[in-house]
Amino acid sequence: MSVELRTGVFEPWRELADAPDGGLGAGAYGATCAFVGTMRDFNEGDAVSRMVLEHYPGMTERQLEAIVEEERAAHGLLAARVIHRVGPIEPGEPIVLVAVWAAHRREAFAGGRAIMEALKSRAPFWKHEQTSAGGRWVEHNTKG
Protein backbone atom coordinates (compact mmCIF):
# COMPACT_ATOMS: atom_id res chain seq x y z
CA MET A 1 0.00 0.00 0.00
CA SER A 2 1.52 3.32 -1.00
CA VAL A 3 0.29 6.93 -0.83
CA GLU A 4 2.23 9.87 -2.26
CA LEU A 5 1.68 13.58 -2.74
CA ARG A 6 3.51 15.16 -5.68
CA THR A 7 4.24 18.82 -6.27
CA GLY A 8 5.26 18.43 -9.93
CA VAL A 9 3.85 16.89 -13.09
CA PHE A 10 3.80 13.09 -13.05
CA GLU A 11 3.04 10.45 -15.66
CA PRO A 12 0.68 7.93 -14.07
CA TRP A 13 0.95 5.28 -16.79
CA ARG A 14 4.74 5.45 -16.74
CA GLU A 15 4.68 5.03 -12.94
CA LEU A 16 2.71 1.82 -13.49
CA ALA A 17 4.87 0.70 -16.41
CA ASP A 18 7.90 0.96 -14.13
CA ALA A 19 6.19 -1.01 -11.33
CA PRO A 20 3.39 -3.04 -12.94
CA ASP A 21 3.14 -5.64 -10.16
CA GLY A 22 2.36 -3.26 -7.27
CA GLY A 23 5.09 -4.93 -5.23
CA LEU A 24 3.50 -8.37 -5.70
CA GLY A 25 5.03 -11.27 -7.55
CA ALA A 26 4.14 -11.54 -11.24
CA GLY A 27 1.47 -14.23 -11.49
CA ALA A 28 0.15 -13.54 -7.96
CA TYR A 29 -2.70 -11.28 -9.12
CA GLY A 30 -5.16 -11.46 -11.98
CA ALA A 31 -6.64 -7.98 -12.19
CA THR A 32 -5.42 -4.39 -11.99
CA CYS A 33 -7.72 -1.38 -12.16
CA ALA A 34 -6.18 2.06 -12.53
CA PHE A 35 -8.01 5.36 -12.50
CA VAL A 36 -6.49 8.67 -13.54
CA GLY A 37 -8.22 12.00 -12.93
CA THR A 38 -6.98 14.70 -15.27
CA MET A 39 -7.47 18.45 -15.15
CA ARG A 40 -9.91 19.53 -17.84
CA ASP A 41 -9.68 22.92 -19.53
CA PHE A 42 -13.30 23.75 -18.63
CA ASN A 43 -15.54 23.31 -15.58
CA GLU A 44 -19.13 24.31 -14.91
CA GLY A 45 -19.31 26.02 -18.29
CA ASP A 46 -16.17 28.15 -17.96
CA ALA A 47 -12.73 27.85 -19.51
CA VAL A 48 -10.18 27.11 -16.79
CA SER A 49 -6.60 28.19 -17.44
CA ARG A 50 -4.91 27.00 -14.25
CA MET A 51 -5.68 25.45 -10.90
CA VAL A 52 -4.04 25.30 -7.48
CA LEU A 53 -4.66 22.27 -5.29
CA GLU A 54 -4.46 23.19 -1.63
CA HIS A 55 -4.18 20.46 0.97
CA TYR A 56 -3.77 20.00 4.72
CA PRO A 57 -0.24 18.63 5.22
CA GLY A 58 -0.30 15.71 7.60
CA MET A 59 -4.05 15.20 7.58
CA THR A 60 -4.20 14.57 3.83
CA GLU A 61 -1.64 11.76 3.96
CA ARG A 62 -3.28 10.33 7.10
CA GLN A 63 -6.75 10.28 5.52
CA LEU A 64 -5.49 8.78 2.26
CA GLU A 65 -3.69 6.03 4.15
CA ALA A 66 -6.80 5.27 6.19
CA ILE A 67 -8.96 5.17 3.05
CA VAL A 68 -6.59 2.81 1.24
CA GLU A 69 -6.40 0.50 4.25
CA GLU A 70 -10.19 0.44 4.73
CA GLU A 71 -10.92 -0.34 1.09
CA ARG A 72 -8.12 -2.87 0.87
CA ALA A 73 -9.73 -4.79 3.71
CA ALA A 74 -13.30 -4.25 2.42
CA HIS A 75 -12.53 -5.52 -1.11
CA GLY A 76 -9.74 -8.00 -0.46
CA LEU A 77 -7.25 -5.99 -2.49
CA LEU A 78 -3.72 -7.39 -2.75
CA ALA A 79 -2.06 -4.00 -3.27
CA ALA A 80 -2.99 -0.37 -3.84
CA ARG A 81 -1.22 2.78 -4.87
CA VAL A 82 -2.35 6.41 -4.74
CA ILE A 83 -0.52 9.43 -6.14
CA HIS A 84 -2.13 12.88 -5.83
CA ARG A 85 -0.88 16.25 -7.03
CA VAL A 86 -0.73 19.32 -4.81
CA GLY A 87 0.08 22.91 -5.75
CA PRO A 88 -0.33 24.53 -9.19
CA ILE A 89 -1.68 22.37 -12.03
CA GLU A 90 -2.20 23.10 -15.73
CA PRO A 91 -5.03 21.77 -17.92
CA GLY A 92 -4.32 18.31 -19.30
CA GLU A 93 -2.11 17.33 -16.37
CA PRO A 94 -2.95 14.30 -14.23
CA ILE A 95 -4.30 15.12 -10.76
CA VAL A 96 -4.69 11.69 -9.22
CA LEU A 97 -3.77 8.06 -9.86
CA VAL A 98 -5.51 5.25 -7.97
CA ALA A 99 -4.33 1.76 -8.88
CA VAL A 100 -5.37 -1.49 -7.21
CA TRP A 101 -4.33 -5.12 -7.67
CA ALA A 102 -6.68 -8.03 -6.91
CA ALA A 103 -7.24 -11.68 -7.75
CA HIS A 104 -10.26 -10.97 -9.97
CA ARG A 105 -11.83 -8.09 -11.87
CA ARG A 106 -14.82 -7.69 -9.58
CA GLU A 107 -12.70 -6.68 -6.57
CA ALA A 108 -10.38 -4.58 -8.73
CA PHE A 109 -13.15 -2.42 -10.23
CA ALA A 110 -15.08 -2.16 -6.95
CA GLY A 111 -11.98 -1.43 -4.86
CA GLY A 112 -10.59 1.19 -7.25
CA ARG A 113 -13.91 2.95 -7.44
CA ALA A 114 -14.41 2.84 -3.65
CA ILE A 115 -11.01 4.43 -3.03
CA MET A 116 -11.84 7.22 -5.51
CA GLU A 117 -15.23 7.88 -3.90
CA ALA A 118 -13.72 7.98 -0.40
CA LEU A 119 -10.88 10.22 -1.59
CA LYS A 120 -13.37 12.63 -3.17
CA SER A 121 -15.48 12.86 0.00
CA ARG A 122 -12.85 12.68 2.75
CA ALA A 123 -9.33 13.59 1.65
CA PRO A 124 -8.64 17.25 2.50
CA PHE A 125 -7.87 18.84 -0.85
CA TRP A 126 -9.38 22.05 -2.22
CA LYS A 127 -9.31 23.23 -5.81
CA HIS A 128 -8.88 26.89 -6.66
CA GLU A 129 -9.51 27.57 -10.35
CA GLN A 130 -8.36 30.48 -12.50
CA THR A 131 -10.95 31.37 -15.16
CA SER A 132 -11.27 34.35 -17.48
CA ALA A 133 -13.58 35.87 -14.84
CA GLY A 134 -10.91 35.54 -12.11
CA GLY A 135 -10.14 33.02 -9.38
CA ARG A 136 -12.74 30.87 -7.62
CA TRP A 137 -12.86 27.99 -5.18
CA VAL A 138 -14.52 24.86 -6.54
CA GLU A 139 -17.53 24.40 -4.24
CA HIS A 140 -18.35 20.76 -4.78
CA ASN A 141 -17.26 17.65 -6.63
CA THR A 142 -19.04 15.92 -9.48
CA LYS A 143 -21.28 13.11 -8.23
CA GLY A 144 -19.65 9.69 -8.44
Partner: protein, 77 residues
Protein backbone atom coordinates in the same frame (compact mmCIF):
# COMPACT_ATOMS: atom_id res chain seq x y z
CA UNK B 1 -5.83 26.06 27.90
CA UNK B 2 -4.58 26.80 24.40
CA UNK B 3 -5.16 25.09 21.05
CA UNK B 4 -3.72 25.72 17.61
CA UNK B 5 -6.34 26.62 14.98
CA UNK B 6 -5.82 26.07 11.26
CA UNK B 7 -8.15 27.06 8.43
CA UNK B 8 -8.17 26.17 4.74
CA UNK B 9 -9.45 27.24 1.32
CA UNK B 10 -12.26 29.80 1.20
CA UNK B 11 -12.82 29.52 4.93
CA UNK B 12 -9.28 30.78 5.43
CA UNK B 13 -9.98 33.63 3.01
CA UNK B 14 -13.16 34.47 4.95
CA UNK B 15 -11.69 34.23 8.45
CA UNK B 16 -8.54 36.04 7.42
CA UNK B 17 -5.94 33.72 8.94
CA UNK B 18 -4.37 30.34 8.13
CA UNK B 19 -3.07 29.51 11.59
CA UNK B 20 -3.66 31.02 15.01
CA UNK B 21 -3.78 30.16 18.70
CA UNK B 22 -7.03 30.16 20.67
CA UNK B 23 -7.52 30.30 24.44
CA UNK B 24 -10.49 28.14 25.51
CA UNK B 25 -11.86 26.76 28.83
CA UNK B 26 -10.70 23.34 30.11
CA UNK B 27 -13.93 21.57 29.05
CA UNK B 28 -14.08 23.16 25.58
CA UNK B 29 -15.29 21.32 22.48
CA UNK B 30 -14.79 21.99 18.76
CA UNK B 31 -17.79 24.34 18.71
CA UNK B 32 -16.27 26.44 21.51
CA UNK B 33 -13.07 26.79 19.49
CA UNK B 34 -15.10 27.89 16.45
CA UNK B 35 -16.95 30.45 18.51
CA UNK B 36 -13.74 31.77 20.06
CA UNK B 37 -12.38 32.59 16.58
CA UNK B 38 -15.66 33.97 15.16
CA UNK B 39 -16.93 36.13 18.00
CA UNK B 40 -19.54 33.60 19.02
CA UNK B 41 -21.18 32.87 15.65
CA UNK B 42 -23.01 29.64 14.81
CA UNK B 43 -20.92 26.94 13.09
CA UNK B 44 -22.46 26.37 9.64
CA UNK B 45 -23.25 22.76 8.75
CA UNK B 46 -21.00 23.08 5.71
CA UNK B 47 -17.95 23.73 7.87
CA UNK B 48 -15.91 20.58 8.55
CA UNK B 49 -13.65 20.22 11.56
CA UNK B 50 -10.66 18.06 12.46
CA UNK B 51 -8.82 17.56 15.73
CA UNK B 52 -5.24 16.32 15.51
CA UNK B 53 -5.66 15.37 11.80
CA UNK B 54 -8.88 13.32 12.21
CA UNK B 55 -12.39 14.47 11.40
CA UNK B 56 -14.25 15.60 14.52
CA UNK B 57 -17.83 16.56 15.39
CA UNK B 58 -18.80 19.93 16.85
CA UNK B 59 -19.16 18.39 20.30
CA UNK B 60 -15.77 16.64 20.30
CA UNK B 61 -13.78 17.65 23.38
CA UNK B 62 -10.43 19.30 22.75
CA UNK B 63 -7.35 19.26 24.95
CA UNK B 64 -4.46 21.59 25.66
CA UNK B 65 -2.08 21.67 22.72
CA UNK B 66 -4.52 20.11 20.23
CA UNK B 67 -4.54 21.16 16.59
CA UNK B 68 -8.08 22.10 15.58
CA UNK B 69 -8.83 22.72 11.90
CA UNK B 70 -11.86 24.18 10.11
CA UNK B 71 -12.42 23.88 6.37
CA UNK B 72 -15.07 23.73 3.65
CA UNK B 73 -16.17 20.54 1.85
CA UNK B 74 -13.22 18.90 0.14
CA UNK B 75 -12.81 18.93 -3.66
CA UNK B 76 -9.80 16.75 -4.49
CA UNK B 77 -9.37 13.93 -6.97
Amino acid sequence: MQVTVKTFAHLRDRLGFAESAAEVPEDACVLDVWQSITDGSEMPRSVLAAVNLDYAAADTRVHDGDEVAFFPPVTGG
